[in-house]
Structures are given as structure tokens and as C-alpha cells.
């Protein structure tokens, strides 16, 4: 189930969410976009974190329990230490997919030239800005598209460098 939902193209998520919105008579808004994108990346997170936790050797659980730790102590004090680098990687993977995704938010968040002031207004995501602004005939607007692209790239670079740094810092205790 999780594996199948990972394979679904994001446009399918977008249109599916859109048809539900039509059914309830909802208008495009930031909130609905957030929900759709969350639905899109949750399977990615589940799958990749599951893989991370699977790599933990069984003995670690046995060692923790035989010291007299409770199950939750082993989970939070031992497993988490072991898994944090992998968990960060999983989050980054999902973040990368979410921030660059245009199709899922096309019908759900909509597009606007204004900065939204509430969750119920439509909003412009960076990929969609690039798409719409680039197709505008006015050169000044086109230039804004390039600016959006740079901003998007910078965000992605910062997040991945930061993620790498943190997971490296945490990695050295891993067994």
C-alpha cells in the first residue's frame, strides 16, 4: 500500500484532491495544498524510515532489554541515537520532493501574485511561480521566474548541506 502510493505521480494526487474539493465545494487554498503535499510525502517518509529502522541489529534491542530498560527506553534512548542520521536523510528526501513539486499543488493551492494572509487563501509555490511567470509575455515577470528558481535552489542546497552536516555529526556513534 505504502509502496504503491509512492509510485503514484503527483499530478494524480493533485487532481484527486481537486475532485474531492469540488465535491465539497471548497476553493483552492494554502491549507488544502499543504494537506495534499503531506499526503504525497508521507508514504516516502514511512518507507524510507522503515528501511532505516530495519537496519538496526536485533542485538541492540536484546542488549537494551537485558540491561533492564523498558521497551520505550530502548526505542527513544538507543534506537533513536542509532537511527537519527537515517531519519534526517528520510526527511530531506521527502522535503526535496515536496518543495519541488508543482503538480500536486497546481489545483489545490492555486496561484496568486499576492502574499497570502491566511491559510484559506490561494498561494504561490516556488515551482508554480517559475512555471507561470516564465510563460508570461512581459520580460520583467520572466526575470522574476529566474529569481524564483534561484531562491528554490538556494533553499534546497541549504537544507541538504545542513542535513548532511547534522547527520554526520550524529553518525559517529552509530554501531
Amino acid at each position: 500500500m505504502v509502496d504503491i502510493s509512492w509510485g503514484i505521480p503527483s499530478i494524480v494526487y493533485g487532481t484527486f484532491a481537486f475532485s474531492i474539493m469540488l465535491y465539497f465545494g471548497l476553493r483552492m487554498s494554502l491549507l488544502l495544498g499543504i494537506i495534499t503535499v503531506a499526503a504525497l510525502i508521507i508514504p516516502i517518509m514511512i518507507r524510507s524510515m522503515d528501511e532505516v529502522f530495519k537496519t538496526v541489529p536485533n542485538e541492540l534491542m536484546e542488549a537494551g532489554l537485558s540491561l533492564g530498560s523498558t521497551f520505550s527506553d530502548v526505542a527513544f534512548k538507543i534506537y533513536l541515537k542509532q537511527c537519527i542520521p537515517g531519519v534526517i536523510t528520510a526527511i530531506m528526501l521527502a522535503f526535496g520532493r515536496a518543495i519541488g513539486d508543482a503538480a500536486a499543488v497546481l489545483f489545490t493551492t492555486g496561484f496568486t501574485d499576492n502574499i497570502p494572509t491566511s491559510l484559506h487563501q490561494p498561494a504561490a509555490t516556488l515551482p508554480l511561480s517559475i512555471f507561470f511567470q516564465l510563460s508570461s509575455p512581459i520580460e520583467a515577470v520572466q526575470n522574476r521566474a529566474y529569481a524564483s528558481a534561484v531562491v528554490l535552489m538556494i533553499i534546497i542546497i541549504i537544507v541538504s548541506v545542513l542535513g548532511r552536516y547534522i547527520s554526520k555529526r550524529m553518525n559517529h556513534n552509530k554501531i
Binding site: E59, E62, L65, S66, N173
Partner: protein
Amino acid sequence: MENVKIEVENFNLHIKNQHILKNINCCIPEKKITVIMGYSGCGKTTLLKSMNRLTDLYNKVAITGNIYLNNKNIYDKDIEITELRRKMGLMSQRPSSLPMSIFNNVAYGLKISGRKKKISMGLRIEHYLKQVNLWDEVKDRLHEPANSLSIGQQQRLCLARGLAVDPELILADEPTSALDPISSAAIENKFMDLKNSYTIVVVTHTLRQAQRIADNIIFMNAGEIIEQSNAKDFFTNPKHELSQKFISGILA
């Protein structure tokens, strides 16, 4: 008359359809060293894990019979499993250091036994690392990750961590399998020391080690206990044919 710390009574353990432990009956006397020996795969580790109920983690395991710790059945419903495991102090066959520094590995054990005071922590950790003959090797690198230690060093670290929990029993599954003769001897001496205050069960493949430290021997084969007697009788006058073979086989 010696006190019985653990009594195993008509104990059977199946995993899937395999009969792993077959009608085990044995006693572990208090403040003595009991050595379990037997060919690889005969169920020694499984027997130890049954004693602290780590076998609960296995899939498709079926258990019949009883194990008593201080005359209390550990398979009773009202037993506190974490408390039981804390008392049991099992060191597993393969050392598994926790994903933290050397210092924190031992500190983890101390914290479980409720000794959390920061001031005395360092001293206590030094004490336990000295007990297992590891202090001199690690005293300058206490805050390095435990996985940077060699297997033999990790084995001693795990023992130190286990002791730091302050258990009533020590169940050591081949505690010296990765150690050189000097470190092994240090651990053996440690056990001889500790048996004044702890009950100790050791699994070993080294016959000489058994001869040196054992008060009692339990000899297993293919999931059954073949012979259990005090060490002297076992080595000088083994009753069962298989035990005779085992002793002469290794000595030869």
C-alpha cells in the same frame, strides 16, 4: 546446604516446529559459578535467554514448564519483566555496545540502577572499567564512540556496563571468546571475586576455563541436559558417555 537461586523445572521450548530445549531440569546455586558447556547449537544461549525472558522476543515460540528465581516463577503473569531482566544481568554472546560513547555506555548501566549523581559518575565508571581490565586502554578516549573499540574491548565494555546495573546474577554467554589469555585470566579472576556477592552462570567452550572457575557444570547436548554435577566430579569422573567424549575430545 546451598541456596538455590534459579530452578528450572520441566522446561521445554519450541521455535516454530523445532524442539530447541527438551525437558530441562536444573538448579543454579547461589553465589557459585555454574558453567554450561556443550557442542555448538545445543541450546546454551537459548537456555540463558529463557532465564531473563529475552525469548519473549522470538517469533512463534512456545514454552512449557517453569523457571523460578528466588522461588518465584518468572513466567507468572504478575512478574515485572524489566525488573527481572535488571536482576539477571545477561551479557550476550556477541558484544553489542550501545550507539554512544564509551563513557555513556557504562553510564547507561549506572542510570538504570538509579545512580545518576553527576559527581560520582566519573569515579564509578572508572571503577567498573578497572574491574574488567579495560580502564588503562580507554582512559584517554572515554568520549570516543564505543564502536571504535575492538571486539574484545567491547566484550569487556559490555561486561562493565552489565556490572554497573548491579544485578543479582551474572549470565555471561562466552564472555571471553574474543579475548587474549591475559584479559581472559583477568575476567576469570573477576568472576572468582564476584562470586562472593553474585550468582554467576558462564557459558564457555574452553574446557580449561571451566576447570579453573566452575563450581558446578551443566553439560548439554542437542537441547537436553546430559549431566549436571559439581565440577570436580564432572572432570574426574564423568558419568555419561557423551561427557567423557566431550572432555577427552577437547583435551586431545
